[in-house]
């Protein structure tokens, strides 16, 4: 497909006797932000290293912008900008010198473009200082700057929000969304933090124990979470409310902070009616969504433990 920016076909990585990842098949399209989600040790960094040429692909193929990483390495790498693990840059040089060095590696990156990229990542005030004086957030931003210099089609980021403060995370999220929308940049970002993925990404691929469990849009994932909602009720008689709802077939749990009820969206009006009919006064009803999304994630990544 013309718009396919990254395609992996049954990619497998074996080191010695251990299979680190197997059967990873993905396809990313122009202008989308794709989240690669999984617990620590799932194989995210290993997969990313194979995409950008740092690790050898044991089996399978990877295509970037139509070029095979194995057969047309130079063609593939021209289209990629990446940060793998930490953004390690030359500490003894200034940020600007670092960028100039990387700019030389690609034809047609002018001094103007370097300035432009510095502006995009908001490092104008510190760009002439030596990188060893930079904070982690500044290094991350310089890392993104060097990745964007040659206007690649694909940006590959390995846990880019590690060590960033909430403001930094928000800035990066907005920057990436902006670039994806305005320039059609495709972003492949890995993380183990659900909340961030939910806010930043269009689609999410979940990986665990080296296998790709599922690929869904964020909407679909949230939808799965909302199937069963966890409600937290505060009433004037929680134990009475508990017995009423249990009788009606709701799954309830009486805890110190209130009555926890698992209910589908459609049955919530029924729940409220039953409580009122039973003479129970309702003070507050809270929905905890983020806990549900975590449940979805946990559920999706659990079965793999039993070995597939």
């Amino acid at each position: 497909m013309a718009d396919s920016v990254l395609k992996t076909e049954s990619v497998k990585k074996v080191i010695g006797k251990r299979t680190i990842v197997s059967d990873i098949s993905l396809e990313l399209y122009r202008g989308e932000i794709f989240g690669f989600l999984g617990p620590n040790g799932a194989g995210k960094t290993t997969t990313i290293k194979m995409i950008v040429g740092l690790s050898k692909i044991t089996e399978g193929r990877i295509y970037v912008g139509g070029c095979s990483v194995r057969e047309d390495f130079k063609g593939a790498m021209k289209n990629i900008g990446c940060i793998v693990e930490n953004p390690d840059l030359y500490k003894y040089m200034s940020g600007l010198d670092n960028l100039r060095l990387f700019a030389k590696m690609y034809p047609g990156v002018s001094e103007e473009r370097i300035r432009e990229v510095v502006k995009i990542v908001d490092l104008e005030h510190a760009i002439n200082d030596k990188v060893k004086t930079y904070s982690l957030g500044m290094k991350q931003r310089l890392g993104i700057a060097q990745a964007l210099l040659h206007s690649p089609k694909l940006l590959v980021l390995d846990e880019p929000t590690n060590g960033l403060d909430p403001a930094g995370i928000k800035e990066m999220r907005e920057l990436l969304r902006d670039l994806a929308e305005k320039t059609g940049l495709t972003v492949f970002v890995s993380s183990h933090i659900l909340a961030e993925m939910q806010q930043m990404c269009d689609r999410v691929g979940i990986i665990n124990k080296g296998r790709l469990i599922t690929v869904k849009t964020v909407g679909e994932l949230v939808g799965m979470a909302e199937e069963k909602t966890a409600l937290q009720l505060e009433t004037d008689d929680n134990s009475k409310a508990n017995s009423i709802l249990r009788e009606k077939g709701f799954s309830c749990e009486l805890l110190a902070d209130g009555l926890h009820v698992a209910a589908e969206r459609e049955s919530i009006p029924v729940l409220v009616r039953e409580l009122t009919l039973g003479g129970v006064g309702l003070y507050a009803m809270d929905r905890s969504n983020s806990r549900s999304l975590e449940d979805v994630f946990m559920k999706l990544t659990e079965p793999a433990k039993e070995g597939k």
Partner: protein, 333 residues
């Protein structure tokens, strides 16, 4: 090709931006100047007349003839002796002296060494082991360039680019060797300049004998100086490639630097000691790397010549380099 030249320019900028590169460069210049000044001060202190032309005795021919006879006898005695391995290591030096004496007699050359500024430069550079010093600095620079990028983590930034790994590695090696060439040229120029300041420019066009382990050649002293510096550069290349490969394989600056340094300083003598007792040991990698000392002092290992030393070391250099490339290209980073 243009992109490869770009890579070289990039690696060169990286190298010169490191403080250690600049510091080592100035240390080398400082050492040359300091050592030369010390020599001059010593001569001043001992009231040596440095501008006097050394006199040649009227009976030099007879003296040289006598010396030659003595050397021939010694050589014959040692060659015919049995179980005298340690004595045999002197043979190379004796043969050189004999060849020099015979050449002088045959060509009527009165002075053993000309009073030339170039001779002073070569002799001082050789006794000061400038070659070894430069090899030392280059080992450090090369390890920093290759292994250093692994420990700093910046190797990821270098590899995930539209270049083959072998291109990146070659650029690093070439830039290190270029640094070595820059050091050598600078040292030669500085040494010549300061000696010219102290001693004037005696015997600029003078000729000097040079032993090539087979025969004597009579060449302009400046050419001999350049040859010796050139041979030193070849030695430097050998140890730089060693550091290069060790860096690529171990990714550790300390191991690469330490081991290469050890081999530079002791490897030669250790290997030569072994070779004195086991003749086949002369084909080990480190036994014949001191090319310039073979010219100035004669061979240590019986049966070796300068061309042989160059060939064997050359083959080892290529093999060691190839090993470095293969490991670097195969491994995951």
């Amino acid at each position: 090709m243009k992109s490869f030249l770009t890579l070289i320019s990039i690696e060169n900028s990286k190298m010169w931006k490191r403080t250690s590169t600049k510091v080592m460069f100035f240390i080398m210049i400082f050492l040359v100047l300091a050592a030369s000044c010390l020599l001059r001060y010593y001569q001043y202190y001992k009231n040596v007349d440095v501008h006097a032309t050394p006199s040649v005795s009227a009976t030099w021919k007879a003296e040289v003839q006598q010396e030659a006879q003595g050397l021939k006898a010694q050589i014959k005695q040692i060659e015919n002796g049995k179980d005298n391995e340690s004595q045999r290591s002197v043979l190379g030096s004796l043969k050189k002296s004999l060849a020099e004496d015979e050449y002088r007699l045959a060509n009527n050359i009165a002075e053993a060494k000309p009073n030339s500024i170039w001779t002073k430069v070569s002799d001082f550079s050789q006794s000061g082991s400038y070659g070894a010093l430069i090899a030392l600095l280059l080992i450090i620079a090369c390890a920093a360039s290759v292994a250093g990028e692994f420990s700093e983590g910046t190797i990821k930034m270098a590899i995930s680019r539209p270049y083959y790994r072998r291109e990146i590695l070659s650029a690093k090696l070439i830039v290190s060797l270029l640094y070595g060439l820059e050091l050598l040229v600078t040292v030669f120029v500085v040494q010549s300049a300061i000696f010219a300041a102290f001693y004037g420019l005696p015997g600029i066009g003078a000729k000097e004998m040079m032993w090539t382990t087979g025969k004597i050649v009579y060449i302009p002293a400046v050419l001999k100086a350049l040859c010796l510096y050139g041979l030193d550069f070849l030695t430097v290349i050998f140890y730089t490639v060693l550091a290069f490969t060790l860096s690529a394989i171990t990714r550790s600056r300390s191991i690469a630097t330490g081991f290469s340094l050890f081999m530079l300083l002791l490897g030669s003598s250790l290997a030569q000691m072994a070779a004195v007792f086991f003749t086949w040991a002369k084909y080990f990698p480190f036994t014949m790397t001191g090319f310039s000392s073979v010219v100035t002092k004669g061979v240590v290992l019986e049966g070796t010549t300068l061309p042989m030393a160059l060939l064997v070391s050359g083959i080892y250099t290529v093999v060691i380099a190839a090993l470095g490339y293969v490991v670097f290209q195969k491994r995951d980073i």
